[in-house]
């Protein structure tokens, strides 16, 4: 049996592919931003002796997420939560919630490492000029930590963007889902999967390229 290439099927789906791409990027960015807030809060809890009572629940959150396949978590939230009486999330909302919690768990470890790697002498010199503990945190610890973890943030954004492919499993119309749609509509298997592979590749590479420049701009720690 001979295979006939027909790239037209891709061009005709441009609008769907573009929508899928933007949706994937949007979901990944949202997960990274909100996940970073969750991760920072969790990391602060874990590094605070005063909040010892919260260490265990936070650890459980991180461990459960990090030791489960993302796809399973996606199904669990999408199919499981409504059964448990938590409704009101469509498939996109459900996936974004899952991806955000997932990002939060990974960012917890990133920020915890970032906080731990800030030499105490920077905090001390902040104290020595009369900064309060809070001021030291906001004007020294946070900005220094941000610069330390920037490369991890870049990697996480790219990972999260690629992870959005899993949303196709619950029919979120992102890139992978669109490829499958082209595939079943036209049977042009090669065109469908080549086009999204190239799109994932190019976009991931572009994110890395842009953010490496940002990293260089902020790379002031030696």
């Amino acid at each position: 049996m001979q295979y006939f290439f027909n790239w037209d099927v891709v061009w005709r789906a441009t609008d769907k592919l573009a929508y899928g791409l933007v949706l994937g990027l949007g979901m990944a960015t949202f997960a990274l931003v909100v996940g970073s807030v969750i991760g920072l809060a969790s990391a602060l809890v874990l590094t605070s002796p005063k909040l010892k009572a919260l260490h265990r629940p936070v650890r459980w959150y991180v461990e459960i997420i990090r030791n489960s396949p993302l796809l399973v978590l996606v199904f669990f939230v999408y199919f499981g939560l409504p059964q448990a009486g938590i409704r009101g999330l469509d498939n996109i909302g459900s996936f974004v919630l899952t991806l955000t919690l997932y990002a939060g768990a990974y960012m917890t470890e990133v920020f915890r490492g970032g906080l731990a790697s800030i030499p105490a002498r920077y905090i001390e010199s902040g104290m020595a000029i009369g900064l309060s503990g809070r001021q030291c945190f906001f004007f020294v610890t946070l900005p220094v930590m941000f610069r330390i973890v920037l490369p991890s943030l870049t990697n996480n954004l790219i990972s999260l963007f690629k992870d959005t492919a899993l949303a196709s499993a619950i029919a979120v119309p992102e890139l992978t889902h669109t490829a499958r749609w082209i595939n079943v509509q036209t049977f042009q298997v090669v065109e469908a999967w080549t086009s999204v592979t190239v799109l994932y590749l190019v976009v991931s590479y572009l994110i890395a390229f842009v953010l490496r420049r940002v990293e260089r701009r902020y790379a002031v720690i030696r």
Binding site: G126, A128, G130, L131, F139, V140, V144, Y218, R222
Partner: protein, 269 residues
């Protein structure tokens, strides 16, 4: 010999620092065993002694980077870190300690410039956030100090773009720009390459001449002998001997000081 009448050295008699019977323990080890020291306004007091003698620890107690278990340190007459209440020794509220630190400058061995801020911004941070000055005002003060330490052309450089000597000069400018009552120098040239030591000492000399009250831990004996108004020799957590540099460095009384100074043979005559 616990204190020296500073006025005898030709200084304005008002005391900037006065420490009485300071004891400090790290666990079971007592590292300060009763330090008494007075520093008058405009004095430059050098703390010398072998490592482990407690010089740096004492310096860090003065601005409460270390807690101390007994005794009273006063800066400008105000007790630092602790106060007595109904016969009990209590730590002052954190806000009070924070305010007190702002009036005591400190320069560290390892510079400790904020790595994410330029030289100028390093100096401005305390001026704006602690002293409440406007950006413009803080910038002007920073520029003035950067000029004084000879780094006007490096003001927009980040710490990693500066040599050790340049970083330390910025760190000194950062400390003194806050207009502190007293500046503590903790072995500020020990981490520097030998050829960079001079530029930092020159800046300190300039400050000393301008009447800055300074407490300096240093191993630079030549420097100590040239700028210190008084030298304090610490040994095993106590002050073993003190006096003007000419006396202490040239006619040491105790055997310990003689043997300590012997290591600097050739530097001192």
């Amino acid at each position: 010999m616990s204190t020296t009448a500073a006025s005898a050295n030709g200084h304005d008699g008002s005391l900037v620092l006065s420490a009485r019977d300071i004891h400090k323990r790290f666990g079971d080890v007592e590292v300060l065993k009763g330090i008494d020291i007075d520093v008058a306004k405009g004095e430059v007091v050098a703390l010398i002694g072998a490592s482990g003698s407690g010089k740096t620890t004492f310096l860090r107690c003065v601005n409460m980077l270390e807690e101390y278990q007994a005794g009273t340190i006063r800066v400008g007459g105000e007790p630092i870190g602790y106060h007595e209440e109904g016969g009990r020794r209590l730590r002052l509220p954190e806000a009070t300690v924070v305010r007190q630190r702002a009036d005591i400058g400190m320069v560290f061995q390892s510079f400790n410039l904020f790595p994410h801020l330029t030289a100028r911004a390093n100096i401005m941070l305390g001026l704006t956030k602690v002293r409440g000055k406007s950006k413009a005002e803080a910038g002007a003060i920073a520029d003035r100090w950067l000029e004084r330490v000879g780094l006007s052309d490096r003001k927009d450089h980040y710490p990693y773009q500066l040599s050790g000597g340049q970083q330390q000069r910025v760190a000194i400018a950062r400390a003194v720009s806050m207009d502190p009552r007293l500046v503590l120098f903790d072995e500020v040239t020990s981490a520097l390459d030998p050829e960079l030591v001079g530029e930092v000492l020159t800046v300190m000399q300039d400050l000393a001449k301008s009447g800055m009250t300074m407490l300096v831990v240093s191993h630079e004996m030549l420097f100590v002998s040239s700028i210190a108004t008084r030298v304090v020799f610490m040994d095993g957590g106590r002050i073993a001997e003190q006096g003007p540099p000419s006396e202490i460095l040239k006619n040491p009384k105790s055997e310990r000081l003689r043997s300590f100074l012997g290591r600097f043979h050739g530097v001192l005559r």
